[in-house]
Symmetry: C2
Subunit: 380 residues, 2 copies
């Protein structure tokens, strides 16, 4: 790719990761060209992005965009059509929720290079996704800071590592006594100490469900048994994850907590590009990096997620759907903070899993879980 512009398609361009991807593209205009943009409901921002980046392909439910597109000469396509278009070099999947699944599969089947930020894809359908990736010689590059760190540490190593060590900030409620956790408000839970992110992932970070989902993703991305994936609390969020090799040597990846670095690395890989807008670590500001074991009792979502991953089948899809609904119920004041974990647990306990499920069976489990969560919460 040296010297040549890469044609990018961003699905979910108006969300947190989508906007930061566009910041990277803006900073490195000689290297990247926006060929396609897709967004959900934020039509105002999408129209602005179309004006600035003049993509050839756009996906939106909003017919009003037709007029902006007439001006820039763009064409309305489905997310799947954009993700698999022959002129697209790399697809950034920055949508949240299960809406990411179908365009990701389209991109994989077209043998694309896919930068994946969508958690649900691998959590719900990791077995299907990775088998399609192998079949179609596609490539999935991680955008999450943790998985990007692991991927960077694996660079050049020929053997399977002994262990992956996922770091976690611990969220805003690290060291809270159990009693205090019961009184946490949505407002408090939406303040993350190190990262600015969307609402659901911020709550998932506070319950540590997010770290559990990342363990499942790491399992699929790096073909690593669950027992060899360790979680380590590291409140400063400077070491983004580590890899322990067969000889006991460990490599860690460090940087300021800023998603633009892993995004840029996935887009420029195997090159690394200087970008003056990316912050660099100042060692005079970092006095110490600390580590501790996670508190599985105070944050039961962590074990729920790992167990769902180990049990496999449709459990991870149910975990994901139940958690999404439970987080909404918490944000709307219907359940308390500790209620998220207990609600998800009750849904998982009721679930009858399906081994090696098809996509349809995964989607059915997802629907069942949403209904079951609302029913158990007394909302239906």
């Amino acid at each position: 790719m040296e010297g040549k512009k890469r044609n990018l398609a961003i699905l979910g361009s108006t969300g947190s990761i989508g906007k930061q991807t566009l910041q990277v593209v803006r900073a490195l205009p000689d290297r990247f060209r926006i060929l396609g943009l897709a967004a959900g409901t934020n039509t105002t921002l999408l129209a602005k992005q179309i004006n600035e980046f003049r993509p050839r392909f756009v996906s939106s439910q909003d017919r009003r965009l037709k007029s902006s597109l007439a001006e820039t000469g763009g064409e309305l396509l489905s997310p799947e059509e954009i993700a698999s278009h022959p002129e697209v070099d790399a697809v950034i999947i920055a949508t949240s929720g299960k809406a990411g699944l179908s365009p990701t599969l389209a991109a994989i089947r077209a043998g694309k290079c896919i930068a994946l930020a969508n958690k649900e894809t691998l959590v719900m359908a990791g077995e299907i996704i990775m088998s399609e990736v192998r079949k179609n010689a596609a490539q999935i590059l991680p955008l999450d800071s943790e998985h990007s760190a692991i991927w960077q540490c694996l660079n050049g190593e020929r053997q399977k590592p002994a262990k992956l060590i996922l770091t976690a900030s611990g969220g805003p409620f690290l060291h809270y006594p159990a009693e205090q956790l019961t009184r946490v408000t949505p407002r408090e839970a939406l303040k993350h100490p190190s990262w600015r992110m969307g609402r659901r992932v911020t709550i998932d970070s506070a319950t540590l469900m997010n770290k559990g989902l990342e363990v499942i993703e790491a399992h699929w991305l790096f073909d690593m048994p669950f027992e060899n994936i360790k979680i380590l609390i590291h409140p400063q969020s400077i070491i983004h994850s580590m890899v322990e090799f067969q000889d006991g040597s460990i490599k860690a990846q460090l940087s300021c907590p800023d998603m633009r670095l892993p995004i840029q690395y996935a887009l420029s890989y195997p090159e690394r590009l200087p970008n003056p807008q990316l912050p660099r670590i100042s060692w005079d500001k970092i006095k110490s990096l600390s580590f501790e074991e996670p508190d599985y009792d105070s944050f039961p979502c962590l074990k729920l997620a790992i167990k769902a991953g180990e049990n496999g089948g449709t459990y991870p899809a149910v975990l994901c759907a139940a958690d999404e609904v439970a987080v909404e119920l918490f944000l709307s004041g219907h359940i308390g903070f500790v209620g998220i974990a207990s609600l998800v647990k009750r849904v998982l306990d009721q679930h009858k899993t399906q081994a090696h499920p098809s996509l349809e069976e995964i989607m059915a489990a997802d629907n069942w879980a949403r209904e079951a969560t609302l029913k158990l919460a007394g909302e239906k």
Copy 2:
């Protein structure tokens, strides 16, 4: 090399690095065979090693070894002959002092893979050594934990990094007030907080001269300008060094402070071998890793070394020789701890350097520096 035993020659087999190399070989008998051993004055230990490892070639000044060799069928050769023998796959240069220079050059000219622990070689003659390495398609693999860490972090990266970050424990006198440093005894200076090493390198670690010499080595090994090599004090000696890349991402290598890991990595590269004798990091024991800038005023050897490296020519050879003599004068009670730096500085100030010196000119500068150091100390 997979599946095939590697034939090793160890020069300096009775020293600290030599003995630890033999421990690695002992732990992995299916992978390595000792073809040659060379040692200086410790004939008793060398005779034991000959009995255990039955090397085909031995180098020693001590004619009494002839009888042990008659028993094992070994042959007495010079270090240079062993280092360049066609059947030797890798040469471990574990000698200390300038005695390592000539066999290293012999190994390079024979196009060998050289695992280098000898500091003087690159510090005194880096320009000549690296040019010979390129000319003869030889390979120098670092054995020092810091340079091994950098080398591991560079694995798989295609571009020149932005910065090397060498970590330093800070030695036993970290945070000592200036006045207290003047009263340091040899006995105190010989106790290093994290590493067990030979006498000179232990004192050099206490003055931070050792870190300065490592900066010069890193400059040559990784072709990195001095201004892009940073030193960071990290008292726990868990992160052995780091590399900052063009995009600001940093990789660090972590392990317990045990020289057997970098030794084994150099011998097994590009493979990593499981070795149950190597300690692994227990994260429940590591609470925090701390960092601070070095105190250049209290430890002037650091700046002296970096400046000698930057000025080049015969300055680094003079630095190295003057320091060796000054350390001896300190250990024998002739000068104080802070006298080491001031004595080395006075020798450097008196020196008339030679740009791009030949080996003979480097050796002449070394001799001059030893004489000058003794004279300035009033010992001659």
